[in-house]
Amino acid sequence: MMRTSKHGRPWTPTRRSFLKDAGTTAAALVLGVHSPFAESGQAASPPAPAIFDPNVFLRIDPDNTVTILSKHFEMGQGITTGLATLVAEELEADWSQMRVAFAPNKPQLYRNLMYGPYMLTGGSASLANSWEQMRKVGAAARNMLTTAAASRWEVPAGEIVVAKGVVSHRASKRSATFGELAADAMKVPVPRDVELKEPKDWKLIGKRLARLDSVAKATGSAKYALDMRRPGELIAVVRRPDCFGAKVLSFDDRYARSIPGVIDVVRIPSGVAVLATDVWSAMAGRDVLRITWDTSTAELRSTSEILEEYGRLAEASGTQAVRRGDAAAALAKATHVLEAEFTFPYLAHAPMEPINGIMELRPGGAEIWSGCQVQSADAHFAAKVLGLAPEQVKINTLLGGGSFGRRGNPHGDWIAELAEIAKAIDGRAPVHVVWTREDDIKGGYYRPLTLHRVKVGLDASGQLSGWQHKVVCQSIFVGTPLEEEMAKDGFDRGSVGGLADTPYDIPDLSVESYNAWSPLPVLWWRSVAHNHTAHVIETMLDELARRARKDPVAFRQSLLANHPRDLTVLSLAAQKAGWGRPMARGRGRGMACHRSFNTRVAMVAEVTVTRPGYRVDRIICAVDCGVAVNPGIVEAQIEGAVGFALSSVLRNAITLDKGVVEQANFDDYDPTRFSEMPKVEVHIVKSLAAPSGIGEPGVPPLAPAIGNAIAAATGKRLYSLPFDSSLLH
């Protein structure tokens, strides 16, 4: 499973690195966090059978708390609560005794089972890849507690009952808490395999359990990286170039050094860092730096020029991502042909907690405190800068104040920069790099600027007759260690996600992909390509249906006949929204349905067109994400995705003027506001299928549902995002 890249050494940590840490198992820990396989009596076994080793994933303390070690990063999506639910279900724990801590960066133990050897959170894969693993952890630990109790009480294990955190033997009227049994249970060999409960016996899965992070986050006591301070740390604020790819030619730090609190000013590859005793002084020092930049290799174009280049690219043939049937021949036979062009702007993620992190260097190693989402990449790039091996970099993952993709960076950008600063001051103090909001909005790693050109046909009977589709955007994977895997031969599979694998039965489909290039760095933005591909597909389907004088829902139903789960969400959303019921003048209803990350979501938007613009009144959503482990969190993720995606429908865009980002803060990159939030109704399809993602799939259908509703209300169709509502009047 080892993956290599021409851009650096592979992220392959060694087994030796975590065995070295074995000595740190604290006596107080009953099922020890760092307990390696060697200590759990399985030294001879290969790592594979211990995949659900409870020693790795949970700890029961004498105070009867059960702490799960989350291999996944919590950025608000509720995954820590979800993982704890899976463990508690099989462990038969009481919800009130469950706690969560973040696992250390040991990919051998904590890898994402859907992403090879890497420890990372992303692709809405956390519950899906943990579904069996975490339940087995809970079942194994229950089994060990039961064995320990049977041995202590000298009764048959089969007579022991575990419920609500209590182990009891009815006949002898004996009972014990997990905390009381944990020391004995630790000595029991980890079972080789365990049986999982039948769904009918679930007590916690499917219930609206309270989030484990609710209290800390509602009292100001939750600690994010920006709230952490290491003794003696220096705050670093970096002046980066106005134009992506520019380099420092020379700088004058006289004024910066005269600011009280400023300790040092250092040059690093990404710019010039001002180090100070506090954030305000570091920001003030940076403001008075004088820097001359070399822009010879920088992006100096404006957005319009880049889009012109995209247009020229699309004139030629691209990389054929899908060729099904004969789209050209089908279009030649069509009686109606629709052509449309869609553009999607660069978008900043703008998580509320700006990017930041702390690094401490010590002989032979480094330690990081940050909201790390792709620990394997972060350790890899820190190590590369510092001349260490990745396993010499210890990451303390902290709660993330949002991410939406920004903290899951395969370039490890802010961590590598942090390492550069720490190296530049010879590690003489811990360094805490802090990005201001302006740094965040102007700092790149945007959702790529994207151009779609699409040509679709209808035959005389109103059936689809040919679909040609071109997608031009910058590749996210090229230049990362995942390039070999995801962007082989210049074709980035990520750029056409949701289109190349659309569930709609389109017999004659051609998808061409074009990789543009710019020094401006791009990154996935909640749902990756789905946030543009779904918009184009769903907008065109709606227009086709109307052109064919067919009902847009019925038209979609006919194309999903072989996909019952997709069909179900489509029909459910339509039914719950009262599809087909007349609406008042100036109001409209629009449908969109999309599958991403194996989750099906259909949304009906209700809008009122006003002067100027429009208002989104209500979103009726049906979702099938397999088992809804916590329906309250599923609903929250859909509500949140609506709020997040609405920003990109209403107004958000990052634009360049001769290479300079024209936006800076929340005044000119203004997210959805409270009063703009529509009502959101979520209907979850009951399912026993294994859970799929929920963090991202709520994003893709929102924009087209709104656009289709506007078209229903006005007869006018908007294509590009954000919608230019001046076109309506």
Binding site: Q77, T219, K223, A350, P351, M352, G643, D667, F674
Partner: protein
Amino acid sequence: MKFNVNGQEHNVGDIDRDMPLLWVLRDRLGLTGTKYGCGRAQCGACTVHINGAAVRSCSLSARDAEGKKIVTIEAVSGRVADAVRSAWQRLDVVQCGYCQSGQIMTAISLLSNIRKPTDAEIDAAMDGNICRCGTYIRIRKAIHEAAWSIAQGR
């Protein structure tokens, strides 16, 4: 300089009088519940109460904050604060949670002034607080629920 924060006087020594109150709280007093989000009073993550009113601490200088009674998320108390916090928890409002200190401080200030706010009054009060996770629906519900529980004398 001296600051009255959460009922206590704090002497922070000689600091830049232009330093925003936000950084006095976070970097000098270690009160990190008040968050930095934008530095320009655009997002509300830094909201504190000054003499009872909701104020963006990122845009108030140390000079102007000195001598005022400042209350932060860590110590805000009373019937309204209790009702708001408990509604927030009951409805599991939070997602990433980073903006929630500011949301809660603004909501407490709203309910202290208007005991039973309408949706329009909630919109007006909360529009300056950004939540990128999109928890607005639950915030609205929590404010209504807190208002109801205060009215019931709970």
